[in-house]
């Protein structure tokens, strides 16, 4: 950024550079003069032209008043404004220029250290600070509307791994002996795809490790594929799906993770017919009582919802946790659920909007039914 030569050095005849004007400075501007105090006359190093950019590049990710992780930077030692830099100029000179102990890891180019030195001596102070913070966005939805929108998404059903894999496996009903050319549930990697006599198309690559026997169900599907049925409806698989579940001593436990885009346009299962994009993990136990967690997000038709550590139990079927809904301008509404009520306060960028209730209980019950590793043996 500060005019350093980039990755491919240009051969420059250094003998063409005018001799340094100041013994402490490595830089020389060809049409300038020394004012006698080591300040280069024609170079207008100011907060606006140099300082703010320098301190942003090297310092404010830690030494910023609003920095979330200061990485050990002492409280109050901030360089967001020129006034703050003036306050700490001696420490800056010592740590950055003299001792090179800051920034952590070093890396400031020699040429920029020279400019910093000159700025601190000659350009510090007198600058105008930049304008204030941008205004906060306004909520477009009421608390009730947030709840209603979330319920619309919940009505589709929360995504689950088993439905993904079952739907995927069902798509092989259209195969013939030559396309995709195997007996299992894998696709060999033909990116143009092959077409069966019945009009099905299988394209891409996918592999499924599946074990379903009595008390155990596990699968691992990785996919970069699409399948078109004989009506032209598409199955899309892009990502990874894992599930491990067992029945033991009258109790089922399971864990699942999914990341990617999966769906089948013609599915009778509402959520998978939307072909959502999603990332989530879920786990549970069912037996004497039950408990389940689901954490992650999914989106369909540009509506996105994020469940942050949401959990249900048999004694708390309405669930608890946080549910976030993405607004039109990409800002998120946050519903902090009161434990086991399905209701909670709604906030938007720090402003409270009221309270709402969501059908988390119904969503949880539906998800539980689909998450079990099969029927109890």
């Amino acid at each position: 950024m500060f005019l350093l030569a980039c990755s491919t050095p240009v051969p420059v005849d250094t003998s063409a550079v005018v001799a340094p004007l100041d013994s402490s400075s490595e830089v020389a501007d060809s049409a300038v003069s020394d004012t006698g105090d080591g300040c280069v006359d024609a170079r207008d190093l100011s907060w606006e032209s140099f300082g703010h950019g320098f301190f942003r590049t090297w310092c404010t990710s830690c030494h910023g008043e609003a920095a979330a992780d200061r990485n050990g930077a002492p409280p109050g030692v901030d360089f967001d404004t020129e006034a703050q830099v003036e306050t700490w100029v001696a420490a800056i000179r010592r740590t950055v220029i003299d001792d090179a102990t800051m920034p952590k890891g070093g890396g400031v180019y020699d040429e920029d250290l020279a400019l910093l030195d000159e700025y601190l001596r000659c350009g510090l102070g007198g600058g105008e600070e930049a304008g204030g913070s941008p205004s906060s966005p306004k909520a477009a939805l009421t608390a009730d509307e947030v709840g209603a929108t979330i319920d619309t998404l919940f009505a589709l059903g929360l995504p689950d791994a088993t439905t993904v894999v079952e739907t995927y496996m069902s798509m092989f009903r259209g195969r013939d002996s030559s396309c995709p050319g195997n007996d299992g549930y894998s696709l060999p990697g033909n990116f143009r795809g092959c077409q069966t006599a019945g009009g099905w198309i299988y394209a891409g690559v996918a592999g499924l490790d599946y074990l379903g026997s009595g008390s155990e169900l596990s699968f691992d599907l990785w996919a970069d594929c699409w399948i078109s049925d004989d009506d032209g409806a598409m199955w899309i698989g892009a990502g990874d799906v894992e599930y491990n579940g067992t029945w033991a001593d009258g109790e089922a436990t399971w864990e699942t993770e999914l990341a990617g885009t999966f769906g089948y346009e013609a599915s009778s299962t509402a959520w998978i017919a939307e072909v959502p994009s999603m990332v989530f993990s879920s786990a549970g136990r069912y037996g004497d009582g039950w408990e389940m967690s689901w954490s992650g997000s999914f989106s369909s038709d540009n509506e996105a919802v994020y469940l942050d550590q949401v959990s249900w139990t048999s004694t708390c079927p309405a669930g608890e946790g946080r549910v976030l809904l993405r607004g039109e301008d990409a800002y998120w509404y946050v519903v902090d659920l009161d434990a086991c009520t399905g209701c909670g306060s709604v906030s938007f960028e720090g402003s409270q909007l009221g309270t709402t209730c969501v059908e988390l209980a119904a969503a949880g019950a539906d998800l539980l039914a689909r998450s079990l590793p099969g029927d109890e043996p």
């Binding site: 005849d13 003998s15 207008d44 990710s61 885009t261 990332v279």
Partner: protein, 529 residues
């Protein structure tokens, strides 16, 4: 070339081919490359050669004969023509060519294949270029419409051709070629930072978590290249140990030097993070549900160098309001038009460009400022100090200038052979492929010469006029003037006509024209500017 001469004070002076030392007042002075005590005075380009340089840089084509004649008679007309060229219909195309040298998005391969879009083989090149040019076309549109240059990171639209509209979730205005378009997948407006074209090129992996993209953003928008910073892995864990590596990024000082700012920036890009970076469905669409995932996976809060951000929707404004964006705008165009990298010795000059840009807000203001600079208008052979007095013609310029002159387009099976390396000669001709070669070639090479030769002969044969006798001499002189912006002297013209006649006698008229025009195209006065 005229080489060097001595001015009256003994200073070593670079001379243009047709230019005496002349008035050196106001020239930029640097120390002589041969004598550290005596300063070297830069010689200004002649008006026709300057016009030629401006025309190539701003339009990609040679000046018309009448324009050369006009500035030869009245050099003050150069600036009038410069203003016309800034608004020429070909400005946008040339602007895209220049941006390619910087943004490196017009690559020949992506992580997905054209076959995955069920395109024919004949669509491959068009598919590659449509994707790579998307962010460049958006910037060119903003430049051409004199919109604030900060719009390149804030607008909620893009530019798309029919190819992109057919493969991506885009709604595009009706019309041929590149039209204003909008994504329909819920991505916020952030100009080129929200384009598939940029992120197809600057991809990330699941483990990389958008860090490479954040670094690219910093290099392109702030001219701050994280990869230039020194880093020591002496105390770092094995990079194969993902957990320990992630921990080191937050604790090891050498890691924190970059990652304290890089990771919070990367976290803003998680709507583009894919579960499978090789899948078109994951790459083609934005994933709004993943916007908050960066903070969770990277254990950071989204921020712009310490200033909290809510997400991509605020990233563009943060970039636009950052003082470094204006600096980088000035620096970028200085480098592209001066044809060299800049350093702190150029600080005051770049600051002047920056102030001109801030006073106006459009990128044309920077282009004017740079093309007004003494360095830009300087002549010289090779380098004089840091100044590049002669710039080597690029494959893109060969194509546009000779194409306009002759109507010839060098293509093969739909590929522009000056614009690809799969089947063509872009890199061989001195161009940038955006991956392994990221700066244009500045000195001749064997393959570059071969490309020039082929162009020369092909143009010559294509342009062969039906002339004879004295008309041949007149036409050759006219072609020399058009191609070089230097009046050919009688002695050289005699030699050229003699060559023409000898080849015509041994072969035919078309071959004679091909030969003679090849000589003109291979002349240093054509291949440099």
């Amino acid at each position: 070339m005229a080489g060097y001469g001595r001015a009256s004070d003994g200073a070593c002076v670079a001379l243009a081919a047709d230019e005496p030392p002349g008035d050196t007042s106001g020239m930029v002075e640097t120390a002589s490359p041969n004598d550290t005590d005596a300063p070297v005075v830069l010689t200004p380009l002649s008006a026709p050669r300057l016009l030629r340089r401006i025309s190539l840089d701003l339009r990609g084509v040679l000046p018309e004969l009448a324009e050369l004649d006009a500035v030869e008679a009245d050099p003050s007309l150069v600036d009038t023509y410069r203003e016309q060229y800034l608004y020429d219909a070909r400005f946008s195309e040339r602007f895209v060519q220049l941006l390619e040298e910087r943004f490196h998005t017009t690559v020949d391969e992506y992580l997905v294949f054209y076959e995955e879009y069920r395109l024919d083989d004949t669509d491959e090149y068009r598919w590659e270029r449509s994707i790579g040019e998307e962010p460049l076309r958006l910037m060119a549109w903003i430049a051409d419409n004199d919109l604030p240059w900060t719009d390149i990171v804030t607008v909620d639209y893009t530019l798309a051709d029919d190819m992109l509209a057919s493969i991506w979730p885009i709604e595009r205005e009706d019309g041929e070629g590149w039209q204003v378009a909008r994504y329909t997948d819920g991505r916020p407006g952030a100009g080129i930072l929200a384009t598939n074209g940029l992120w197809f090129r600057y991809y990330t992996t699941v483990a990389n978590k958008n860090r490479a993209r954040a670094a690219a953003l910093s290099r392109l928008m702030l001219c701050e290249d994280y990869l230039n910073r020194p880093v020591s892995f002496a105390s770092a864990p094995s990079l194969a140990d993902e957990g320990a590596t992630e921990e080191a990024l937050k604790t090891d000082p050498y890691c924190l030097g970059c990652h304290s700012s890089l990771d919070p920036l990367a976290a803003t890009l998680f709507g583009f993070w894919t579960a499978n970076e090789y899948n078109r469905h994951e790459l083609d669409s934005y994933h709004p549900e993943r916007e908050l995932l960066g903070e969770e996976l990277m254990d950071v809060e989204m921020s712009w160098y310490g200033e909290p951000l809510a997400g991509l929707q605020e990233l563009g404004a943060a970039v636009a309001s950052d003082e470094r964006f204006a600096w980088c705008t000035a620096e970028t165009w200085a480098e592209l038009l001066w044809r060299r990298t800049v350093d702190n010795d150029d600080w005051s000059t770049i600051d002047g460009f920056r102030q001109d840009y801030l006073a106006d807000g459009t990128v044309r203001a920077v282009l004017r400022a740079v093309t007004d600079s003494e360095e830009y208008r300087a002549a010289g052979d090779g380098e004089v100090g840091r100044v590049i007095g002669r710039r080597q013609i690029t494959p893109a310029l060969m194509s546009s200038s000779l194409g306009e002159l002759s109507g010839l387009a060098w293509t093969w099976d739909g590929y522009d052979q000056m614009d690809n390396d799969s089947w063509g000669y872009r890199q061989l001709g001195g161009g940038v492929d955006g991956v392994s070669v990221t700066t244009v070639q500045s000195t001749p090479s064997l393959t570059w010469l071969l490309v020039v030769r082929r162009w020369g002969f092909a143009v010559g044969q294509t342009m062969a006029p039906d002339l004879s006798g004295e008309e041949v001499r007149t036409k050759l002189a006219e072609l020399a003037w058009r191609l070089h912006a230097v009046r050919i002297d009688d002695e050289e013209l005699d030699r050229l006509v003699g060559l023409f006649e000898a080849v015509e006698a041994a072969s035919d008229e078309a071959t004679a024209w091909g030969t003679a025009i090849t000589v003109l195209v291979r002349d240093p006065e054509f291949v440099s500017y």
